[in-house]
């Protein structure tokens, strides 16, 4: 009972991280990044099932802390929609990692074309779910946040499109050589990264003090 009480108090303290002193909020953000990157390092550096399971737990803890700490650094509380987004995205994220680790390496060994295509496209299932979660999340944000998301997506399309076009022109002039498969695989991560950075910048500019 006492343990449950401590757990509940801990949850409440993390839930109101926006009221922590600044150094603690920034400390939590650094810890979240350490857990997140450390988790991936553990995951990719080890083949043992137990260590990989532990790494996934570390990644989940890092991601959860990252969401709370990012909000807290911006003096923002975690709202119900943020919790909903986290609850929806975390399992999808874990499924994506598991498929990438355990299903994608099997693609070369599969002979049946439709089965091979299904295995190769399997990571798209969690990604499509994440896309649906993001659309619902943005629709449930307030009006200024929706404008920020719109601006961020516009910036992402523009930056990735212009960089892609530039690299394509360099490749056409035979000044640089790019692997087409790699380039196609990089489109979504590049869009997501620029979108995330643009969103973070807009939120930092308008953060409450």
């Amino acid at each position: 009972m006492a343990a449950w009480g401590t757990f509940t108090m801990g949850r409440m303290a993390i839930g109101r991280m926006d009221q922590w002193p600044a150094w603690q909020r920034w400390g939590a953000l650094v810890l979240a990044w350490v857990l997140y990157i450390g988790g991936f390092w553990l995951l990719l550096d080890n083949r043992e099932l137990v260590v990989r399971g532990l790494a996934l737990l570390v990644i989940v803890a890092g991601l959860l802390l990252l969401v709370y700490a990012c909000k807290a650094v911006l003096n923002e509380r975690v709202r119900n929609i943020d919790r909903w987004q986290m609850r929806a995205m975390l399992p999808a994220f874990l499924v994506y990692i598991l498929l990438a680790l355990y299903v994608l390496p099997l693609v070369d060994q599969i002979a049946t074309p439709w089965l091979k295509a299904a295995a190769a496209l399997s990571p798209m299932a969690p990604l499509l779910f994440v896309a649906w979660v993001m659309v619902r999340y943005v629709n449930r944000c307030d009006e200024m946040e929706r404008r920020q998301h719109l601006e961020a997506s516009g910036i992402a399309v523009l930056v990735v499109g212009l960089v892609g076009m530039s690299l394509g022109l360099l490749s056409a002039a035979k000044l640089a050589v790019f692997d087409a498969t790699f380039a196609l695989l990089m489109v979504l991560p590049a869009l997501a990264t620029v979108y995330g950075l643009a969103c973070a910048l807009a939120k930092w500019r308008h953060r409450a003090r």
């Binding site: 003096n75 307030d142 953060r207």
Partner: protein
């Protein structure tokens, strides 16, 4: 657009976070409205007016230079 959101919020003794919770918006949105960096939509402006029991035109007025 000029507004009296900060003045009315402080008169109620509320922080930006408390007002944000009342309106179900983020704290940064309240901050941007108070600093004149974001003009709220009509539904949000009416929500604000209703919360502070004010007429909407007494809370918001256009900048002279932008008319």
């Amino acid at each position: 657009m000029k507004n009296r959101v900060r003045e009315l919020r402080e008169a109620h003794g509320w922080s930006q976070g408390v007002l944000a919770e009342h309106l179900d918006v983020s704290r940064q949105t309240i901050n941007a409205i108070e600093n004149g960096k974001y003009d709220p939509s009509l539904p949000l402006a009416f929500k604000l007016a209703r919360l502070f029991k004010q007429r909407i035109e007494s809370m918001f007025e256009p900048d002279e230079g932008r008319q």
